[in-house]
């Protein structure tokens, strides 16, 4: 496709999104005055605004573009992603959100210290917040860079990263949490509009969701009526698939290209590979559900509600808002497979990953409708990187300004000093994240998101879950479990990705030299041991239980160190807020944000 000409509609609509974001940032900066506004938006965000803001923050670049691309290239197996993102939020609601809110800890490090009376544990937790935060910002940045170079062909990758990084850093530094709440709320509706309107138009032209799915036939199925019925606007039911595209059977049926990759590489028969695919599916589910519950920027939002009842109502609305959204990206993937199969010939951001941006051009690249719809999806993509990055930046900045500065470096800091520190920290962290973002052009969005989830699932989730429900936890147990699980997961995903990079470079070199690629040692090992490959690529199924087990064993071994007032802490975690127990024991919370 030739995109040497810039489409004015795409440029204008994306530009408007950026300008509106900056304008709203300035507007709300005027109302953000106190430290509490900066850290928890004054705890006074109404249910509607907050639900939209949380949803806006939740739906990242991976949700907006990645899921559609994955469904297009992998089919059914990729549907687990949107479902588990939604379920992860439910899991958070069932087990973690209530206790944490009642406890009154503003950040995970607050909780870590408050629950175990250990400033050391706060330090460990802060490092982890920053680590996972940076890990999760990189894919957002990458998405911004690739989208901007799609909108303005010829523009280098780093420009998009710097533009988004600068806009959001400015917003966060000016308005803090309160500033971005409004922005994120509006961005949710931009995203919702951007993902749904083009789909409705495309489905009106190309036939319904079910009809399009029925065009993908598993072998042995009789041809349905839909395929015989030829639409006026198109010649056939769908366009021919290129060589590289997965076959219908593998695409529409469970245990397809994603979950059976390792077994296929090992040369196993379809029958032999099915149990391994099942294992992969379960591990993926665990990683996504537990990982969502462990992402630091999601938890902070529970504190921006005025009270517990409002927090619960907000959560209900968030479930509905994100659930409705997640129905749409797979439809993009499906339509992309049926009507834009040429995307299969490229990989990553030049291939299926850009299906959301590219698909509306089916309606005619030079027609106004096609351009406007394309512009709308590009604007939605921008909203996606910006809102998730704002959320991450606020939580990382909060960790630096509140936990490192306000609690460790200068415990007696006045709210004013903390607010100033918040602004400085926002600029430093934002700059650093932007810099990192410019370095990750070659990595895949979904892959990076997957790594962040795998690490969060094996570290934060066990920590929060066990600390909230088990009285016998000690600081040593909590720290060992969190670090053990996190490091194991990190080691596994690093091993997998380093191996893949070596294999890819080897293949490219062989192709260049015109020789046959001789697989390296790691690739050969994976070929011989598909089970180990799955457990390394998707480690949650054993790292999450390992982390929990470590917590139990070490806590039992250090039983005498159980915090003396553990009972009081459990009471605060579980007794209704209206009994007013919180004040009895967390007293120094009057400062920033409390």
């Amino acid at each position: 496709m030739d995109f040497s000409q810039i489409n004015p509609w795409i440029l204008a609509l994306s530009g408007i999104t950026v300008v509106v974001t900056i304008w709203m940032g300035f507007r709300s900066a005027k109302t953000s005055k106190s430290a509490s506004d900066f850290f928890v938006a004054g705890r006074s965000v109404s249910v509607g605004w907050n639900a939209s803001a949380i949803s806006g923050e939740y739906l990242s670049a991976a949700s907006f573009m990645g899921i559609a691309g994955m469904v297009m290239s992998m089919g059914y197996d990729a549907l687990w992603y949107p479902v588990c993102y939604a379920c992860g939020y439910l899991f958070l609601l069932l087990f973690i959100a209530g206790p944490l809110r009642r406890f009154g800890a503003y950040t995970i490090p607050d909780f870590a210290e408050g629950r175990f009376d250990s400033p050391l544990f706060r330090r460990i937790a802060v490092c982890f917040v920053l680590f996972i935060g940076f890990f999760y910002t990189m894919p957002q940045m990458k998405g911004a860079g690739t989208t901007l170079s799609y909108i303005l062909p010829g523009l280098p990758y780093w420009v998009g990263v710097v533009v988004v990084g600068a806009v959001i850093t400015l917003n966060v530094a000016m308005g803090g949490m309160k500033g971005i709440t409004l922005v994120q709320a509006v961005q949710y509706w931009i995203k919702m509009f951007a993902i749904s309107v083009p789909i409705f138009v495309l489905l009106a032209v190309y036939g319904g969701y079910g009809k399009n799915l029925s065009l993908n036939q598993a072998s042995g199925e009789p041809a349905p009526a839909a395929q015989v019925m030829v639409m006026e606007s198109i010649d056939h039911g769908r366009r021919a698939l290129p060589e590289k595209a997965p076959k219908d059977e593998a695409w529409i049926a469970p245990f397809g290209p994603l979950t059976s990759k390792a077994a296929k590489a090992a040369g196993l028969s379809p029958q032999e590979s099915r149990p391994l695919s099942l294992l992969y599916t379960y591990s993926l589910i665990i990683a996504l559900v537990c990982g969502t519950a462990g992402l630091p920027h999601i938890l902070v939002r529970f504190y921006t509600n005025p009270d517990g009842a409002a927090a619960k109502k907000t959560t209900m609305w968030v479930m509905i808002l994100i659930g409705v959204f997640y129905v749409f990206p797979p439809v993009f993937g499906l339509l992309g497979r049926n009507f834009m199969p040429e995307l299969y010939n490229a990989t990553g951001s030049k291939g299926p990953d850009k299906v959301v941006l590219e698909l509306p051009t089916l309606l005619g690249k030079n027609s106004v409708l096609g351009s406007v719809l394309s512009g709308i999806t590009c604007a939605g993509a921008f909203a996606a990187f910006m809102s998730t990055f704002s959320g991450l930046l606020v939580s990382m900045t909060g960790a630096v300004a509140h936990d490192i500065y306000g609690r460790m470096l200068k415990p007696g800091a006045t709210p004013k000093e903390r607010m100033r520190m918040f602004k400085i920290a926002a600029v430093v962290v934002g700059g650093l994240a932007t810099l990192l973002g410019t370095q990750v052009e070659l990595l895949e969005i979904n892959f990076m998101v997957g790594q962040a989830f795998a690490i969060a699932a094996a570290s934060y989730f066990p920590l929060l879950f066990m600390s909230a429900w088990w009285r016998g936890m000690t600081m040593a147990g909590a720290a060992t479990g969190m670090l053990g699980g996190g490091i194991l997961a990190l080691a596994c995903v690093t091993l997998t990705s380093v191996g893949d990079v070596i294999a890819k470079t080897g293949q490219a070199a062989a192709l260049k030299a015109g020789t046959v690629w001789a697989p390296d040692a790691i690739t050969l090992f994976w070929k011989g041991h598909p089970l180990l490959r799955i457990l390394s690529e998707q480690p949650a199924i054993w790292t999450v239980p390992t982390a929990i087990l470590l917590m139990i064993i070490v806590s039992k071994a250090t039983r005498e160190k159980i915090p003396a007032d553990a009972r009081m802490k459990m009471l605060v975690l579980h007794a209704p807020e209206s009994l007013g127990l919180k004040q009895e024991y967390i007293q120094e919370q009057q400062g920033a944000g409390h």
Binding site: Y76, A253, F255, V327
Partner: protein, 106 residues
């Protein structure tokens, strides 16, 4: 601010109250979680053991796709809705229980 040591005679601070509290909350959370985990973990098993059934077409969708791509979301809403109403009722009941318990002791 200095704080008086928790009054052991206070019903809210009793072991009994805390145990009951956590038990009731955990029971609610676990029952809601098992409702959605049943479907979440059951679906791969159905795909594994009953592939023909799950590949059956309903309005163009395979049954498996229909469940995972569309129906799962309303299902999650129902569970969330149930949990929220029940847990709010539970909190109200706890507050009443605490007030009664304190009255009895004093």
């Amino acid at each position: 601010m200095s704080q008086p040591p928790p009054d052991e005679n206070n019903f809210i601070h009793s072991e009994e109250f805390l145990r009951g509290l956590m038990k009731r909350q955990l029971r609610l959370s676990v029952s809601c979680a098992s409702a959605f985990l049943l479907l979440l973990f059951g679906l791969p098993l159905l795909n594994y053991f009953a592939p023909e059934l799950m590949a059956r077409r309903i309005g163009g969708f395979t049954l498996s796709w229909l469940v995972l791509g569309v129906l799962f979301f309303p299902y999650v809403w129902i569970i969330a809705r149930l949990f929220i109403t029940r847990s709010m009722a539970l909190e109200a009941a706890e507050v009443r229980l605490a007030a009664e318990g304190n009255k009895k002791l004093s």
